[in-house]
């Protein structure tokens, strides 16, 4: 009986002693979200880090070495459409002003 208790205690001690201390917890992968706002699509998702990316060490930020960099895709074609509309309106104003000057 004493032998059995001794073996059990020894086993427990060995198990506790061998537990890795300070093992970092696995980080969550970056959020994958898509936001669409007025012709603008912003997508962030996991991708392979590139050699040109230089992670910052801002306070509280998860280390980029553990977090894959987000992939960002923003469609700015809407801006060009709006500027084309703007040029049309400005041309109308120019025409009206010229017509007015000649009255």
């Amino acid at each position: 009986m004493r032998k059995m208790i001794g073996i059990a205690l020894l086993t427990g001690l060995i198990a506790v002693g061998c537990r890795p201390v300070g093992l970092p917890t696995l980080t969550e992968p970056p959020d994958v979200t898509t936001t669409t706002t007025a012709n603008t699509t912003t997508t962030t998702s996991a991708s392979t880090p590139s050699s040109s990316s230089q992670p910052s060490s801002r306070g509280g930020a998860t280390s980029p070495a553990e977090n894959a960099p987000p992939e960002v895709e923003i469609d700015l074609s809407g801006l060009d459409d709006l500027l084309a509309e703007l040029e049309g309106v400005l041309a109308d104003v120019d025409g009206a002003m010229t017509e007015g000057e000649s009255q």
Binding site: P30, D31, L79, A96
Partner: protein
């Protein structure tokens, strides 16, 4: 004041020239002719002057009809601006139609002489109404465009924030984005006062009001430059985000 006097002198001179030039063929004859022929010529010239005056009114009524349609179909005009412009165009249209009826009924050069200057001076259709309509439409369209640019700036800001949260350096992107927002703010500052500055201008304010129209026009052109610069800064922000994450 001197400008107004000068304008009136020009208007009177124009009318006088019309009155003298049109029946000129009759007055210029040195040889005596039969009185019936002279009267016929004078009547013809009188009718010609009347037709020219009515044609001048028609041109203005056509322009007003075009602008009315432009205002009614524009989706960016504010309801208040739309209502005010339509009311002014409607009033000008009614006034010109009534003037056309008076000119049509005129029997003498003297009557016509009092009516013809009103075609211009009572309405300033092309010098005031047209520019006013187009400036207000442009200002409202540009306000709408600036709002859309703001939405895009917010979307870029969201991307910048996510990149930073992931631990990457998005400072260059933030700097470009801040520049985009500064250009948008400058555009808004230029656009915002334009409708208020021109909507209140009336024919009685002419021709001095022409300078205010030119200032408003210049402000909108400057605002357009700011919007173009905002587009460029937005592109740079997106490129900076891609550089930061190696995309």
């Amino acid at each position: 004041m001197s400008t107004r006097i000068a304008t009136r002198i020009v208007a009177v001179a124009t009318v006088s020239a019309l009155l003298i030039a049109l029946p000129g063929t009759a007055f210029a004859q040195t040889e005596p002719v039969e009185s019936t022929a002279t009267e016929t010529d004078r009547a013809s010239s009188f009718d010609q002057l009347k037709r020219r005056a009515l044609a001048a009114i028609d041109i203005r009524l056509d322009a007003i009809a075009r602008w009315t349609e432009l205002i009614e179909t524009n989706e960016q005009l504010t309801p208040d601006h739309q209502a005010r412009l339509l009311a002014e165009l409607s009033a000008a249209s009614r006034g010109l139609a009534a003037l056309a009826a008076e000119i049509q009924a005129a029997k003498t050069y003297s009557e016509l002489g009092g009516m013809v200057p009103k075609i211009v001076e009572d309405y300033w259709v092309f010098a005031l109404l047209g520019p006013k309509v187009h400036l207000v439409i442009a200002a409202d369209v540009m306000t709408h465009i600036t709002g859309r640019f703001d939405e895009m700036a917010a979307a870029i800001q969201e991307a910048v924030d996510r990149v930073e949260e992931a631990g990457f350096d998005a400072e260059a992107a933030q700097v470009a984005l801040d520049r985009m927002r500064a250009h948008l703010a400058a555009a808004s500052t230029l656009i915002e006062p334009v409708p208020g500055a021109v909507l209140g201008l009336q024919p009685i304010d002419m021709p001095e009001a022409g300078e205010q129209l030119r200032v408003a026009h210049a402000d909108l052109k400057s605002a357009a430059e700011e919007l173009r610069a905002a587009r460029q800064a937005g592109r740079e922000a997106v490129e900076a985000i891609k550089d930061a994450i190696g995309g």
